[in-house]
């Protein structure tokens, strides 16, 4: 029983202003020659004419740099040697206009931060405070391949509301209670009709020609792929930067570093990347992945095989295409996947 609301575009801006009274708002904003998700200032509108953003909106629940706690060793400070939580703002916030690929990615990442054994407080508190409002893609990019990653331009997974652009109005589908609450807070209450959606969905899906081949990956033996000879060739061009991992909505690895000055300090959680040589440096000085091909293999095995085998929910990739667009040396996950998918070990 999913509510369908019609949002006249003339009423959209006013509704966003109403929302800003009860939510911190995040939306796509134009930045010279590209778009990025930013916190919207008072009166600022999200720019929904965008394709997709350079960096994914994962930073709303998983900031690139986050202070975990502070500490002081100064004994004249009454709270010396105590770990102090850093005050955070987990008041309700909403992401407006995120793409279905990025929304599905949030669900995939949640599997790591919300397990029976452990709940990551930083990620989960931010996640639970966030309402995700998606915008279906009518015009996928040339590098989008979401239709072959169990996702698609009108996919609903991970969203609380899905907006479909219908010319003079948005057709809003409330997918969760959070979504209904948001629509009400925006004053969006006109009953809607979602019959145009099916045709638009089909048209958008038909526009996507890029694809990733993964159909034979689950049947492959892990060690056959791990020991395959093609990793050296694939890894050659990689320059071990963090571009693919930072821009990827399903990447979630982080580094913990303390920043100290005199007797005061703060423990930071920063984005990290398995592509960097120091990622697996042990305290002992041993580094199990000190060679480039080991790290490149790790990234693609994690995305396309380990995650697939462990959760059986598909690959850890939503086909957003950002890594393909932004890799400085054009190391393409689709090419790698095809190589893995086609590989037959010599017995």
């Amino acid at each position: 029983m999913m509510k369908i609301i019609n949002i006249d575009k003339q009423k959209w801006a006013g509704g966003v202003e109403s929302l800003s009274k009860s939510y911190r708002l995040f939306g796509p904003v134009k930045d010279v020659d590209c778009y990025n998700f930013k916190e919207l200032k008072q009166g600022e509108q999200p720019d929904l004419s965008y394709g997709n953003t350079k960096l994914s909106p994962k930073s709303v629940v998983f900031p690139p740099s986050e202070a975990m706690f502070t500490y002081s060793l100064d004994e004249s400070n009454p709270e010396h040697h105590l770990l102090k939580d850093v005050p955070k703002d987990y008041s309700p916030r909403a992401v407006l206009g995120m793409r279905p690929c990025d929304a599905k990615a949030v669900s995939l990442v949640r599997m790591n931060f919300d397990t029976p054994e452990y709940r990551d407080p930083y990620w989960m508190d931010a996640f639970e405070a966030t309402t995700f409002v998606g915008l279906a893609c009518d015009d996928p990019c040339a590098t989008c391949f979401c239709t072959s990653t169990n996702c698609g331009p009108f996919n609903e997974e991970g969203l609380d509301v899905l907006l479909v652009d219908n010319g003079s109005a948005y057709i809003a589908k409330a997918l969760t209670e959070k979504g209904e609450k948001l629509l009400a807070a925006g004053g969006f209450a006109d009953a809607g009709d979602d019959s145009p959606v099916a045709a638009k969905k089909a048209a958008a899906e038909a526009k996507i020609t890029a694809k990733i081949e993964t159909d034979k990956l689950s049947e492959k033996v892990i060690m056959d792929l791990y020991d395959a000879p093609f990793w050296h060739d694939i890894a050659f061009s990689c320059i071990n930067c963090c571009t693919c991992t930072y821009t990827c909505p399903t990447c979630w690895c982080f580094d913990i570093q303390d920043e100290n000055k005199g007797c005061e300090g703060v423990r930071m959680r920063n984005w990290d990347s398995c592509m960097t040589p120091l990622f697996t440096m042990h305290g002992s000085g041993h580094n199990p992945r000190d060679k480039k091909h080991q790290r490149v293999r790790q990234r693609f095995m994690h995305k396309l095989k380990y995650f697939l085998d462990k959760y059986q929910k598909g690959i850890m990739c939503v086909g957003c295409g950002r890594c393909v667009q932004q890799c400085p040396v054009n190391l393409d996950i689709r090419t790698v996947s095809k190589t893995m998918n086609d590989y037959v070990a010599k017995s």
Binding site: D33, S237, T243, W271, P328
Partner: protein
């Protein structure tokens, strides 16, 4: 440029077949219209995958660092100067290399398709070191102002300059694509990676971001050939070359120095000469 690839392939095939080299470093076709991918060809059968076009912008000298094999490398003007630098700095030996020199009239920017900024003011289109050329030498540009951008910043007031650099690095995510694409950056442990103790914060703090860029630029002083790989690698389209251009200008003015042109001299920040300018000593 199409004629170049025929020659590059012919030379590569010959060198692999007669065992002069164990591998050829070049480019193969990319999966996007404005990209190509660096590749390592070991079998003469694979030479057919090599390409040469206006998307071959990444500096291949970056892939030579500390290699032990005998290698052929496709090198345009700037790449060849970085090869000279690598030899002077002991990151590769001259006798390991067969340099396939490729005269270059410029690479295209991967987003705009227009000529890359650094190529517009290039004065070393022809390789300065090579074993065989893949094409005839081209005319070098003479009437270009390499430092027009730098002079604009030099003319700013301190406040304007602060705001300019604040803005320049605002989008930086510390992905280090610029550093990793640069042939000069080969330190086993980069200063930003130090953590016991930590030298520079690793997060988004603008002061840490600027510290990284400023210090990296200083490490490139007297060595940078303005190949533009840093700028083309940056996923956030940051004009990374602004600082290195300033240091390149300083080296030219203070030491009369251009990087990567001779195997017989070390860069000015490596050595002391009695003629070094010292009017800063009051």
């Amino acid at each position: 440029m199409d004629a170049y690839i025929t020659k590059i392939k012919a030379i590569s095939e010959r060198l692999l077949k007669d065992g002069t080299v164990e591998a050829v470093i070049g480019f193969r076709e990319g999966t996007l219209p404005t990209m190509s991918e660096p590749c390592f060809i070991k079998r003469s059968d694979d030479v057919k995958d090599l390409v040469w076009n206006a998307n071959c912008r990444i500096n291949l000298a970056n892939y030579l660092t500390n290699r032990k094999e005998k290698i052929a490398i496709v090198a345009k003007g700037c790449d060849s100067r970085n090869i000279v630098n690598h030899i002077v700095e002991n990151k590769i030996k001259r006798d390991q290399l067969f340099i396939i020199g490729v005269p270059c009239k410029g690479m295209n920017d991967k987003d705009t398709g227009a000529l890359q900024d650094n190529c517009a003011t290039c004065t070393h289109r022809n390789p300065v070191i090579y074993d065989e050329l893949a094409g005839d030498l081209v005319e070098e540009q003479t009437n270009v102002d390499k430092y027009a951008d730098v002079k604009k910043v030099e003319a700013m007031t301190p406040d304007e300059r602060w705001a300019y650099f604040d803005n320049l690095y605002a989008a930086c995510t510390r992905c280090y694509a610029c550093r990793n694409a640069c042939p000069l950056c080969y330190c086993p442990t980069c200063f930003v990676d130090e953590s016991k103790p930590q030298w520079v914060g690793k997060g988004e703090d603008p002061i840490d971001v600027r510290t990284y860029h400023f210090l990296r630029a200083y490490h490139c002083a007297g060595r940078c050939t303005d190949c533009g790989s840093c700028e083309s690698a940056c996923p956030q389209n940051i004009k990374v070359r602004q600082l290195t251009k300033k240091l390149e200008k300083d080296c030219a003015e203070l030491f009369g120095w251009e990087a990567g042109l001779t195997l017989d001299k070390r860069p000015p920040l490596d050595t002391f000469s009695i003629d070094d300018p010292n009017d800063f000593i009051k």
